[in-house]
């Protein structure tokens, strides 16, 4: 499905002395089979943006469209099933006595049959590499394990769009790789992913398109190469290093992937 935000504004606490406009006319879209990376500093409106994608927050102005249909007119439950939102530190919302029951929460809310629930719990735990944790007590797990379980809890709804808000924050490199692998597989199933992050390298690594958010406005959208090479101040370290050599080797570091860039540099040094 195609998820679109059209001129979305969001104002917190309007009419009070705490009034803040967190989003100022944001327009963007995510297509099927695409990973859209959203980057930006703290306070740029990334998390507010995430919560508009399944209308947990309603825009003060502007619209959210699902396949061209106004999401406000859809049933909330359908919308939230189709657009799975994984919050920042999602493990804080684990509550059930076992991992299995926690992951089963969402499918149970959808009113699915027991067999279907079991199938989905198994599949989503497998997808995050946590099948062995089924019977464990969520709060006794390690941080990385809890993160996996929490993400499985959203995958169990089998969403068409997966929105991840800072999914790798606080994870070790191995867990981070696993998670980015999961994101790529999701795209390969021609579903879509919105990856919100302030880790520029990981966004450059997996995203098909990048959107740079600044003070609630879209500063740039495009492929990682387009966006990062033209906005060096928001670019990952790889891009900044490579751009120094651009005059001589214009193709170096495109696409913006650390491994491929490293290989190109190595070839350059040997030559």
């Amino acid at each position: 499905m195609k998820l679109e935000l059209v001129d979305v504004w969001h104002v917190y606490s309007p009419g009070t002395e705490f009034e803040v406009a967190a989003l100022r006319g944001v327009s963007l879209s995510v297509e099927s089979g695409e990973i859209l990376g959203v980057v930006g500093g703290t306070g740029s409106g990334k998390s507010t943006l995430a919560q508009h994608m399944n209308l947990l927050l309603t825009p003060t102005r502007g619209r959210v469209l699902v396949d061209g249909v106004d999401a406000a007119a859809m049933r909330k439950r359908d919308l939230r099933r189709r657009v799975g939102l994984v919050f920042q530190f999602p493990e804080q919302a684990l509550f059930a006595p076992t991992v299995e029951e926690d992951v089963a929460f969402a499918p149970r809310q959808l009113g699915l049959g027991e067999d279907e629930i079991r199938r989905r719990v198994q599949n989503s735990l497998e997808a995050v590499g946590a099948s062995h944790l089924t019977g464990r007590f969520p709060h006794a797990l390690s941080g990385g394990e809890r993160r996996r379980v929490a993400i499985a809890g959203i995958l169990a709804m089998e969403p068409e769009v997966l929105v991840l808000d800072e999914p790798t924050a606080g994870l070790d490199p191995a867990a981070r790789e696993d998670l980015l692998g999961l994101v790529s597989r999701f795209r390969d199933e021609s579903r879509s992913v919105v990856l919100i992050s302030h880790d520029l390298d990981e966004v450059a690594e997996v995203a098909d398109r990048v959107c740079v958010l600044e003070k609630g406005e879209v500063r740039a959208v495009g492929t990682p190469a387009e966006v990062f090479y033209e906005n060096l101040d928001v670019a990952p370290a790889t891009v900044r290093v490579v751009s120094e050599l651009h005059g001589v080797y214009p193709d170096l570091g495109r696409p913006v992937r650390f491994g491929e860039t490293l290989q190109a540099l190595r070839g350059l040094l040997e030559a």
Binding site: Y12, S13, T16, E17, F18, V20, Q51, N54, L56, K76, R77, R80, R81, G84, L85, V86, F87, P90, Q92, A93, L94, F95, A96, F105, A106, Q109, L110, H139, G153, I154, M157
Partner: protein, 264 residues
Amino acid sequence: MVGAGRTFGRFYPAVSLLHELDPRAKILATAIFILGIFLVGSIPGLLEVAAALAVLVVASRVPPGVFLRTLRPVAIIVILTALFQILFSREGVTLFEWGILQVHEGGLSMGFFLALRILLLVLAAGLLTATTSPVALADGVEDLLSPLKRFRFPAHEVAMMTTIALRFIPTLQEEAQKIMNAQAARGASFAEGGLIRRAQAFRPVLVPLTVGAFRRADELAEAMESRGYRGGEGRTRYRELRFQVRDALALAVAALVIALGALL
């Protein structure tokens, strides 16, 4: 963002005489107001107190909207109290009659009197918390309770616990909202079904909220200990409280306002 501006008794920093007064003077003056309002037995008396509080609101340089918002949560109690008196009191001249409904003069004035009294109580407390930072408030409470230390009353500990509790109300509200959002993203709904179903819907919120609160308490205790906190014994203050002439004057004014109100 939730809770911003919504919390009862939020400190509103500003530069005013009221902000600068000694917290002990403000606590005592508020106590005089709150206890004294029960001695004021007439509507003109309450109006006089209301006028005095209105002057203080202006003098505090805190936008009146902030106080109106602190009054909102008690609005239902005020309205119910007033309605009860107006509809069920049978004193004085009958002003209005419709079927079994009768409105008497006595009920009307009693309803107004009680509603005004509740509003003034809340306003007086709101004035204290809006103009006194939680730290100053805790220092003041501790100091006022310290004579009780002789009877082994843990004045410092009580003050510290109260401050921490007040400090974490907005934090917990925010966290509750976050967890509710996270569960809503998993299809939970908090506004559907009967009372029992709704109460059950809160289990996925209450469990993580409680777990989080305990974790937070542990972390706070560790942070305090790592900075050398060992309780009140021998602890000095960066800001020493100094009771000045103007603080004594403030108390005198508060007592005067109440005395005048009681006489009216």
